[in-house]
């Protein structure tokens, strides 16, 4: 009897502990969101979106250049990362034999695991060193490298989940393999692929480490893509580690804007995926 009571007590205590673990971990997200909204909202005004950053001591100013800069960097990254990830994924899922895809899949996972700061060093060695100056190109290239493995694996995974009956049906109608892929398989998997691409964009949009010595940051507008360019994550880093209160407020505002953008991208990707799932069922 005693033994059973003890076992029951252990049971209840441990199960409660796991519940507490869950509450603790989930509440962290709400703490982060709440604190960021509280601090960011107070510092956020219209100027933030329209004005250039000011020197310490001058109040006001914004981060218009960093918002546009981040957009440009993401565009460059997407222009390289999405085609490579998509086409590579098509190869892995639809062509390819055994060994070659395995090797490519393995290196894609390897690339995915490379620390972002090391990606930054690589982009520095191949673009900044030969060009002799920091540039938006180098930053965009670094970000694209982080995007490729995500897009590649998502494309492959969702193409593979398309039932073989669809492939066979198309081929039986006399369509070539290319025609089958373009008109049947990819459309069937498009929601999943889109989700992967959005997640890739969301991941790189918050990265600062690969930009530190590639696109560098810039307090003004970049005249062209061969110049250093500002980015929101870099601005947050720079402002948060500065000693000025004005700068801290700007960092909070930038943090709020960045987090909202990243969360919206993540929610959008889930929404796309869930819509795809219901559409296929219906």
């Amino acid at each position: 009897m005693d033994r059973i009571t003890r076992r029951n007590i252990v049971n209840n205590v441990m199960l409660t502990v796991t519940g507490i673990c869950t509450v603790l971990t989930v509440s962290v997200l709400f703490l982060i969101l709440g604190y960021l909204v509280y601090n960011g909202w107070r510092s956020l005004d219209w100027n933030f979106f329209t004005k250039l950053p000011l020197a310490p001591g001058e109040s006001g100013g914004g981060m218009a250049n960093a918002i546009v800069g981040s957009g440009i960097l993401i565009l460059i990254a997407a222009a390289i990362g999405i085609p490579v990830g998509f086409m590579g994924g098509v190869y892995l899922a639809e062509f390819g034999g055994k060994t070659v895809p395995m090797l490519i899949r393995y290196t894609a996972d390897l690339l995915n695991g490379v620390p972002s700061i090391v990606i930054g060093i690589f982009a520095w060695t191949v673009i900044v060193v030969p060009m002799h100056h920091f540039s938006a190109w180098a930053g965009g290239f670094a970000l694209s490298l982080m995007m490729i493995p995500i897009g590649l694996r998502a494309t492959e995974q969702f193409l593979r989940s398309v039932p073989d009956s669809l492939r066979e049906g198309s081929l039986a109608l006399g369509a070539s393999k290319t025609r089958t892929i373009v008109s049947v398989i990819v459309p069937a998997a498009k929601q999943g692929i889109l989700t992967g691409m959005i997640l890739g964009v969301a991941r790189v949009s918050g990265e600062a480490a690969p930009l530190l010595f590639t696109s560098l940051n810039n307090q003004y507008w970049a005249n062209n893509l061969n110049e250093p360019i500002a980015a929101l994550p870099l601005m947050i880093y720079e402002r948060a580690t500065s000693p000025y209160d004005d700068f801290h407020r700007q960092a909070w505002a930038a943090g709020l804007v960045l987090l909202v953008l990243v969360l919206i991208a993540n929610l959008a990707s889930r929404w796309v995926l869930s819509r795809g799932a219901t559409a296929q069922r219906g």
């Binding site: 049971n11 441990m14 199960l15 603790l24 490579v84 086409m87 695991g113 060695t125 010595f213």
Partner: protein, 324 residues
């Protein structure tokens, strides 16, 4: 007749080739292969570039680079040990906190919570994984660092001050703070992958244990968790790889000290943090290539851990996917 047979193949082969190319299958095969191969090539090129650019440093210091404890740009003396130590120590602190918390939450989400609640919580935890590193750093600087300095570190010194681990003034920044930030950043990975591994455990395993009279906890801890142990271990390795390579948040709270300290309260440095801080300011070939070599060391470290994580996760998903 014989001549017809002999001339037939040269006529049909080009025609077949033309048909092949008109379908475009060969072309699309080739084009997609080029894109896929570029992923392989760029990764190989990455390793090559790190190797070449760390050349001067490797030539000068050899393997002593890994064991050297001085980091002095003025005299061009560079050793990586303080940074390797800081990287491993902060990641270890992170795991000490995030493993029990993450595995506990994963157990709750897979074994106890109703599916709807479980999915909702997992969704929130995975959103946490999407929060950018700089934002963790921003919050840590303004909330965690003052908290550590004023309350937690004095408390630790007061209660555990006899240990060499809790010596020196409470700066707020240092190994312990970086470890706590890393713990928060890594537990989403542990929760979401461990939960998958636990959910993949066949239902019969649980039912058998319960039928033998085990309590819910006994069935979970003695049957379900051991069954999923490889997947859980894989999630921990994945979290470790993330923690080792994490840059921005750590750079903002590590305290930037190039020494090796036993006290967890002391400021330190990690490999990623020193690269982030000094790369743009580095002057001279040896200095730069020493930083690149640090990048190479970090790359090697995370690759080994990542490979182990992949193997473990593959091993369990295979086992779990088998019909029981």
């Amino acid at each position: 007749m014989g001549t017809v047979v002999a001339t037939a193949p040269p006529q049909t082969r080009p025609r077949k080739m033309i048909a092949f190319w008109r379908d475009g299958d060969q072309i699309s095969h080739l084009v997609t292969f080029i894109f896929a191969a570029s992923v392989f090539l760029v990764t190989v090129f990455l390793v090559y570039e790190l190797w070449i650019h760390s050349g001067p440093s490797r030539a000068k210091f050899g393997f002593n680079f890994l064991a050297g404890t001085t980091w002095d740009p003025v005299t061009d003396q560079f050793g990586a040990l303080p940074f390797i130590y800081g990287t491993v120590l902060t990641s270890f602190i992170a795991l000490v906190i995030s493993v029990p918390l993450g595995v506990g939450a994963a157990i709750f989400l897979s074994e106890l919570a109703p599916p709807k609640l479980s999915n909702a919580c997992t969704f929130l935890v995975e959103l946490l994984a999407a929060v950018p590193s700089v934002i963790f750093g921003l919050l840590a600087i303004f909330t965690l660092v003052p908290l550590m300095r004023q309350y937690i570190e004095p408390f630790l010194k007061h209660t555990l001050g006899d240990l060499p681990l809790f010596q020196g003034p409470a700066y707020g920044v240092g190994y312990l703070t970086a470890g706590v930030v890393l713990a928060i950043m890594t537990f989403p990975f542990i929760i979401s992958i461990s939960r998958e591994a636990l959910l993949a455990v066949p239902r019969e395993q649980r039912e058998a244990a319960l039928a033998l009279g085990a309590t819910k906890w006994e069935s979970t801890w003695q049957v379900v968790v051991p069954f999923a142990r490889l997947g859980i271990l894989g999630s921990i390795f994945l979290a470790l790889a993330r923690a080792l390579g994490e840059t921005m948040a750590v750079t903002m709270v590590i305290g930037n000290d190039t020494g090796i300290h036993t006290s967890l309260l002391s400021p330190g440095y990690t490999i990623a943090a020193i690269i982030a801080n000094q790369f743009t300011e580095a002057t001279g070939d040896i200095y730069l290539s020493a930083l690149v070599e640090l990048g190479l060391v970090l790359f090697a470290l995370t690759m080994v851990i990542n490979a182990a994580a992949q193997l473990l996760i593959i091993a369990t998903t295979r086992k779990g996917s088998k019909p029981a």
